[in-house]
């Protein structure tokens, strides 16, 4: 396994005047898992193709360890790919699917079979190795496809392109868990492309958020969620996304009845607030009006709602406990907040 490095990478499709990827810098350490998170059209697939060698950067360099592979084709890179839908030879058994890449590389039948069975056992599909793909569940099929990609021992990098798309929702965590165990055991370097936040934040030790062909932030899941680098990331991550007050947020430098537990300078800082950080308190003459209420559930018997609170042009979301009616008034207290370093970036 290897360390992957992108330096200054840009890419434009030959037919297009627009730059698809702009000035990317990224380091994925040997043996770590990295998620590329972005909405459709952000440039995730193009970046994946640059890493696999199907495309080459228009500018900048891609390194696998210290080797510059910018112009090296897909066949000459030791990169394994796992796709959205399982890719298997339908007429061959699972075992034959797993041994195929090894026999192709000159392994002996005995060694190939031993390695394939070992991988099947780790992926917990050893009980179906003699079955054909058609007899497997989609979950087992995707495990077999992952096994086929990872059976080689000379892989530098594993690229996963939304590998859970086809798996039924209730089984997804199992597949992530199996994959995660496998990754740790073998010390694989994995880059995982997804638009699903749970996948990105759960699976990876570091996450890069992509929008409009640029990496907007790279960090641990906690950094990305609690300390977004700009307003796009703050709003994109989390549901509901962050709302902003202070510098750059229209008409919010002079809000009243918004109390902060930690000191803040709204006239100089852009401040991000998550609904669960805000504590609304009912107050007949409060400056905030409840303009919307959505039921979240209950906790210890008490109703919890997601409240929309407005004051002039400002709108915030806060989790409220107990009964709240639309039209009632409140004051707000921020138990915590995030200072957004690049408050004025509105990419996407």
């Amino acid at each position: 396994m290897a360390t992957i490095r992108l330096e200054n990478v840009s890419f434009s499709y030959p037919s297009s005047e627009e730059t698809t990827l702009r000035d990317l810098h990224l380091t994925v350490e040997h043996g770590s898992t990295h998620a590329l998170l972005g909405a459709s059209g952000a440039g995730k697939t193009t970046l994946l193709n640059l890493l696999s060698g199907l495309l080459h950067p228009s500018e900048g360099n891609v390194f696998i360890d210290d080797r510059d592979v910018s112009l090296v084709g897909a066949r000459e890179r030791n990169v394994a790919l796992v796709f959205q839908f399982p890719v298997l030879y339908e007429s061959k058994s699972v075992l034959a699917n797993l041994t195929f890449p090894l026999l192709n590389r000159g392994w002996s039948k005995v060694d190939a079979k031993a390695r394939a069975l070992e991988i099947a056992k780790e992926l917990e599909i050893d009980d179906v190795v003699s079955a054909r793909p058609g007899q497997l569940s989609l979950f087992q099929k995707q495990l077999a496809a992952i096994g086929k990609s990872l059976v080689r021992t000379d892989v530098d990098l594993v690229l996963l392109d939304e590998p859970l798309t086809a798996v039924e929702p209730a089984m997804k965590w199992r597949l992530r868990q199996t994959l995660s165990k496998f990754q740790k055991h073998h010390g694989l370097t994995m880059i995982y492309v997804t638009h699903d936040q749970t996948e990105a934040l759960t699976f990876a030790s570091e996450v890069s958020v992509l929008a409009n062909g640029a990496i907007l932030q790279t960090g641990t899941p906690t950094e990305i969620y609690d300390h977004p680098a700009n307003t796009f990331v703050g709003n994109f991550i989390g549901s509901p996304g962050m709302r902003f007050v202070g510098k750059g947020a229209v008409g919010t430098e002079t809000l009243t009845d918004l109390e902060f537990e930690q000191p803040v300078q709204l006239e100089r800082q852009t401040v991000g607030l998550r609904s669960e950080w805000l504590d609304p308190r009912a107050h007949g003459s409060g400056a905030w009006e409840v303009t919307g209420s959505r039921l979240l559930g209950t906790r210890a018997g008490e109703v919890r709602s997601l409240l929309t609170l407005t004051q002039g042009a400002a709108e915030l979301l806060a989790e409220g406990a107990g009964a709240w009616s639309v039209g009632s008034r409140a004051t707000l207290r921020a138990k915590r907040h995030a200072v957004i370093p690049a408050g004025d970036i509105h990419a996407g």
Binding site: L201, S239, R294, L295
Partner: protein, 309 residues
């Protein structure tokens, strides 16, 4: 406004009566193949296996009299007409030209700056907004939306969900909205109808159904992830299990820990008096616990659902 009496999704279904009020949102929550689309097609007067007496404002509904509009999962727009042309098309068919109304509808769904674009120049969310504007063009009394957001990414769903409330209040339309997502159902529904295997399981306010489900199926349908089993008759929702603050609790081993930032999901093997159960626990924030750890899980007795055998 809209009422369906003796609703049967299939000839063998147990019949139910449902009703949607003007200016309010009725959500039908059901899994795939539960009968949501059949219900919408019946309400719209389209061919379906579902049966029942559909009345609108008390009168038996005749198709083509126009008070019902439908928005589908897939964005259905005329590809060779501009946004403005698409919105105007239902009025044009009725011989009406009203540019003011076109702009007003576009503003309502926030695409007024896109009137001269073609549909294929719009994002998925904008296309679905266009479909909604067109559906509202003939001032329907009833708007049917059959899983309108399944093809949209979750940020767009978030924005459109928040806008639906305003849209219903401003137009006074009776909205029937189907979904398979329990959190959408809780957030949007003035009235909630649970549909499973072609039958209405329960209907009422969202809070009523959340607190007092009539049985396991109703409780599990309105839970994401599904509900956890405490005993043959007792269950608990994932958000109602917490890490014990003292030494009392069910001894558990974590199998996986997942997070989306706002919540973490602990998948645990929980030791109960009758044996081991697989639970999912939903906790706020990003937790530091890891797979393989042993923890004590506790449940507040007020949160236990008594669901019968």
């Amino acid at each position: 406004m809209l009422a369906i009496n003796q609703l049967k999704i299939r000839p063998s279904s147990k019949p139910a009566d449902i009703a949607c009020t003007a200016g309010s949102i009725t959500v039908v929550l059901g899994r795939n193949q539960s009968g949501k689309t059949d219900l919408c097609r019946l309400a719209a007067g389209l061919p379906t296996k579902a049966s029942g007496t559909v009345t609108i404002g008390g009168e038996i509904y005749q198709r083509k009299s126009g008070p019902v509009a439908m928005v589908f999962q897939a964005f259905v727009n005329y590809p060779s007409w501009t946004v403005a042309g698409n919105i105007a098309s239902p009025m044009q068919a009725a011989g009406i030209r009203d540019e003011g109304r076109v702009r007003e509808l576009a503003a309502l769904v926030k695409i007024e700056h896109l009137l001269h674009r073609m549909p294929d120049e719009l994002s998925g969310g904008q296309q679905q907004r266009l479909a909604i504007a067109r559906a509202l063009a003939k001032k329907p009394k009833v708007l049917l939306m059959d899983e309108p957001f399944v093809n949209l990414d979750f940020k767009l769903r978030e924005a459109l969900n928040a806008e639906l409330r305003t849209l219903v209040e401003e137009t006074g339309v009776a909205l029937l909205f189907t979904t398979s997502d329990p959190s959408d159902a809780l957030a949007l529904a003035d009235q909630l109808i649970l549909l499973e295997s072609h039958e209405v399981l329960q209907q009422g306010s969202a809070l009523e159904l959340y607190r007092s489900p009539v049985g396991f199926a109703a409780a599990d349908l309105l839970s994401d992830p599904g509900i956890n089993r405490l005993s043959d008759t007792q269950y608990v929702r994932p958000e109602h299990v917490h890490l014990s603050a003292d030494s009392n609790g069910h001894s558990s081993t974590l199998r996986a820990v997942e997070t989306n930032g706002a919540q973490s999901y602990l998948h645990a093997d929980v030791t109960l008096t009758h044996g081991t159960e697989e639970w999912v626990v939903k906790l706020p924030g990003i937790v530091t616990h890891q797979a393989g750890e042993h923890v004590l899980l506790a449940v507040d007795h007020r949160d236990v659902l008594e669901l019968g055998a």
